[in-house]
């Protein structure tokens, strides 16, 4: 029942609006409409307590729960939590006049900037309908000439070793006679990508670390340092060294199984980071080793890396600092010349190259950058793998791809294109509760994920969250095994770079060439 009908039932209270009922003055149409079924509403105020954006409020005079739809970010926390399912959040049916060139989003952003003079900030990954090439690739399966393998009964191996590989193995008297560079065993080719404590809450990072531990894989601290409590997960930790060098010190470097130099991030190639002072709580301050409440600014470049030989210098500085005990990874955003850069990174001595595609997530990025800079990971990955193969150096290095991995099939396709493993970030946060409202930068995450507000953060129970993450990765692992079995292979290494297992649908011949695959039907 809508509010108008409700009013008709209460003729004693004429439809009279108070000032507080009016939205904040703006030329912007609300993005979302809030609909409340007053027959169902029991005025329990759960929605008020759940919403950190002050959408819902109690009107004492009317004795009704009301809402300010202009504040709504579309996170659906209230709708999910409402015990009587009285609330639904929908796109606002009232839209600007349709226009083929000026979308509602353009008009709203212009208004937002006209009101503030600022950069339009956003969070999470690119939400534009740029082609997702994963969806235009189809996977092969065996029929007759080679048997498909049933993964529920037959062995099916996903174990992967991260680290540089020598060209050959020397054997003497039946024993290994060559030195192996440091290797990290992971039980499935899925790692949790860099998400810093600061961007996400303590409980969420703890959940991710514990999930990595239980699954036998790795998680990545991001550039936010390592909280003292999390040193116990060191066997499953990748520590990042980024331009801000927050929390980077010998203990930190030596706590990890791998050190990753972050050059760039798919969601915001070429720019740095900015953790707002609001999110620098006491605990974040300890972890990042910066005073509470100050902004944590990560510069755009690493100021000791202005060229490839400088990168080499940092790679080996980190190897020295860790006594050559752990692999060193270099993460770059997928940009137009990613292939050449990746080749340089390998030659500079990196053990692992991580490439992050333009649909990757972020805690905060200018929308102009997030939606317009970079490359789809599918192309970047195919181009990097091919370049490294052409140069004969692909077998030496581990290639991790991330930025827009949404499901098990995406992983299978990424490995067939040439990746050794994938990073997942957004998918992990969705598993914990994220609904992609893209307000991570606000610190007001109603799902308790991208926030340091203790009231919000305690909404995530780290054990439940850990279980959800473990379930997700195990579910995906089963699906990967099913697809491998369908292709007649029982080990993940037999998929790597096997592009003939893929066919393209609806792709131009140039796109097919770049991906190194053939069109479906050929």
């Amino acid at each position: 029942m809508k509010i108008e009908e409700h009013q008709n039932n209460n003729p004693s209270k004429p439809a009279q609006r108070k000032a507080s009922d009016f939205k904040i003055r703006s030329n912007r149409l609300s993005e979302f409409a809030v609909q409340r079924d007053y027959d169902r509403c029991i005025k329990c105020e759960v929605c008020i307590k759940q919403c950190s954006f002050d959408v819902h409020y109690r009107d004492e005079e009317d004795d009704l729960i009301k809402h300010r739809p202009e504040n709504c970010v579309g996170c659906h926390r209230c709708a999910v939590m409402c015990p009587t399912a009285a609330i639904s959040i929908t796109p606002n049916p009232a839209q600007y006049r349709a226009h083929g060139s000026w979308s509602g989003e353009h008009v709203k952003d212009i208004n937002r900037q006209a009101e503030t003079g600022g950069v339009v900030l956003t969070g999470s990954g690119n939400d534009k309908a740029a082609p997702v090439y994963w969806d235009r690739m189809l996977i092969n399966a065996s029929q007759v000439t080679n048997p498909s393998i049933d993964p529920l009964r037959e062995p099916m191996e996903l174990r992967t070793y991260i680290g540089a590989k020598p060209a050959s193995v020397k054997v003497k008297d039946g024993k290994l006679a060559s030195e192996m560079p440091p290797q990290i065993k992971i039980q499935m080719p899925i790692l949790f990508s860099a998400i810093s404590y600061g961007a996400i809450s303590y409980n969420v990072q703890k959940a991710i670390a514990e999930a990595a531990e239980e699954l036998g894989t790795l998680y990545n601290t991001g550039e936010g340092g390592l909280h003292p409590d999390f040193y116990k997960y060191k066997d499953n930790t990748i520590v990042q060294v980024a331009s801000g060098r927050f929390g980077v010190h010998p203990d930190y470097l030596n706590a990890a199984r791998m050190v990753e130099i972050k050059i760039g991030q798919g969601a915001k190639p070429g720019i740095g980071g900015h953790l707002a002072g609001e999110k620098v709580s006491e605990s974040v301050s300890i972890t990042r080793m910066i005073p509470m409440g100050t902004d944590a600014i990560s510069p755009a470049p690493q100021h000791d890396i202005y060229s490839i030989e400088d990168l080499r210098m940092l790679i080996f500085a980190l190897k020295e600092a860790t006594n050559y005990r752990v692999p060193v990874s270099v993460k770059i955003a997928a940009v137009h010349n990613a292939a050449a850069i990746a080749s340089g990174i390998v030659r500079a001595g990196a053990d692992v190259v991580a490439i992050d595609g333009f649909r990757g997530g972020t805690g905060a990025a200018p929308k102009a950058i997030r939606d317009n800079v970079g490359l789809p990971i599918e192309f970047a990955l195919a181009a990097v793998d091919q370049r490294l193969r052409d140069e004969g150096i692909r077998n030496q290095v581990t290639l991790i791809s991330g930025g827009g991995i949404r499901c098990a099939a995406d992983i299978v396709k990424a490995i067939a294109l040439g990746a050794d493993a994938v990073y997942i970030g957004t998918a992990a946060l969705i598993a914990v509760g994220c609904t992609l409202c893209q307000k991570c930068y606000s610190g007001k995450c109603n799902w308790g994920i991208a926030t340091q507000n203790p009231y919000l953060a305690k909404r995530v129970n780290s054990e439940i969250a850990k279980n959800r993450l473990v379930n997700l990765v195990q579910g995906w692992s089963h699906e990967i095994k099913e697809m491998l079995g369908g292709m007649g292979i029982n080990s993940i290494e037999s998929l790597k770079g096997s592009r003939s297992q893929l066919r393209g649908v609806g792709l131009t011949s140039e796109e097919l060439d770049i991906l190194g695959i053939r069109p479906a039907g050929m």
Binding site: S168, V169, V171, R394, E493, S494, G497, S498, S500
Partner: protein, 387 residues
């Protein structure tokens, strides 16, 4: 043979699919014998092939030229022959060249010209390339660059004879009853691609090493990606080609023993590796993580040989059949036990090896059945046989 893909793979498939019968017979005392039992054994497995490919590798057949490389070359025209011979002339000392004797045989059609050359390489003095690498390079160049010529055998004191037809027809065509060798391997092919080509039959050969292969490598794409990164060029679109290069890389170039080769192409499962003693585990972990691209995944059984050994191995979960047997100093490998029984009703031992565990016969040493009927990753101690 320029653009082999056109003759091997006219439909431009990802890879050409074929299934097969394989057979191997070796007298570990080194005594040469006629191939007659091998022909009978292959004929008994007629139904495993479809007449679109058959072939044999025979070792010890050219004792008069023990140190010369015997190049077997097929030509589609006399012009190709002239061009090839002009190419060979400055690069090799050609001791003898002759047409390989053949006879008109029912069922054998469109036969190419087949010649053989006994040659010694003329390696430029200042060159640091090894003789073997020089030979491999020349063979691959003739195959890739001379239109209508294909070197299908290039070892010493051995030869491959193969073509389109049932194996028993190929044997008759090449008059193989006139040869004596101490190792014979054989293959009958069942390609699903009807347009078969003589060069695409098995055995595949790289210098002294040959392979016959039953099955299909589901990992072909990954294997090919790995090998092409190292510099091998896959031109024939058959999974046997990637096996041949893996043999070349691991056995010839890296000089790793055949036990290790088996552990590269058919490695134990990680759960088994985890249970190994430390030294074994370290070695096997290194082999799998470095040579993961050479894991031959999918059903196969193969027989690999050079002049001094014959090795059989299957995929690690044994999706293709293989039977091994011994009688006195003779070692047999076959897709079917019945074919071995046909040529030797009485056997000393007959057994089926575990998936991925190699059976290795060497001159002077027969394999011990127990070492391959069970999973045992320590190096094998063969039974010594007087030569």
């Amino acid at each position: 043979m320029r653009d082999l893909s056109m003759v091997c793979n006219p439909y431009n498939e990802d890879k050409v699919i074929s299934a097969c019968s394989i057979f191997g017979m070796m007298d570990v005392s080194g005594k040469p014998f006629s191939g007659e039992p091998v022909f009978r054994a292959m004929e008994n497995m007629h139904d495993r092939g479809n007449g679109l490919g058959g072939g044999f590798a025979v070792y010890g057949i050219y004792p008069e030229f023990p140190d010369h490389y015997a190049l077997h070359i097929m030509y589609t025209s006399q012009a190709a022959r002239h061009e090839t011979e002009q190419y060979l002339e400055p690069r090799f000392l050609v001791e003898r060249s002759e047409e390989i004797p053949t006879r008109k045989t029912d069922g054998i059609n469109n036969e190419p010209l087949v010649y053989r050359y006994f040659v010694l390489p003329k390696i430029p003095k200042q060159s640091e390339v090894t003789e073997e690498d020089f030979m491999v390079e020349q063979v691959l160049r003739v195959n890739a660059e001379i239109d209508g010529a294909f070197v299908f055998s290039s070892g010493k004191n051995m030869g491959v004879f193969k073509g389109v037809g049932f194996p028993e027809q190929i044997a008759r065509y090449f008059r193989l009853e006139e040869y004596q060798g101490h190792i014979w391997t054989a293959h009958g092919r069942f390609p699903t691609n009807s347009q078969a080509w003589w060069g695409g039959a098995h055995p595949f050969c790289m210098l002294d090493w040959t392979v016959v292969h039953n099955g299909e490598l589901s990992s072909y794409g990954a294997n090919r990606a790995y090998l092409e990164t190292i510099g091998y060029k896959c031109t024939m679109f058959t999974d046997t080609e990637v096996l041949t290069y893996a043999i070349d890389l691991i056995l010839r170039r890296e000089k790793l023993p055949p036990e290790i080769f088996a552990r590269v192409i058919s490695p134990p499962l990680w759960e088994e590796i985890d249970r190994m003693p430390e030294d074994e585990r370290k070695l096997q972990t290194a082999l799998r993580s470095v040579y993961g691209g050479l894991l031959m995944n999918g059903p196969f059984s193969i027989v690999v040989a050079n002049g001094s050994q014959m090795i059989a191995v299957t995929d690690r979960i044994r999706l293709r059949p293989l039977t091994a047997a011994t009688k006195d100093s003779t070692l047999y490998f076959s897709s079917e036990e019945a074919s071995i029984r046909l040529v030797s009703l009485e056997l000393d031992h007959v057994w089926t090896p575990m998936g991925g565990v190699p059976v290795i016969g060497k001159l002077g040493a027969l394999p011990v059945p127990e070492q391959s009927t069970k999973r045992n990753y320590t190096t094998s101690t063969p039974v010594e046989v007087a030569r």
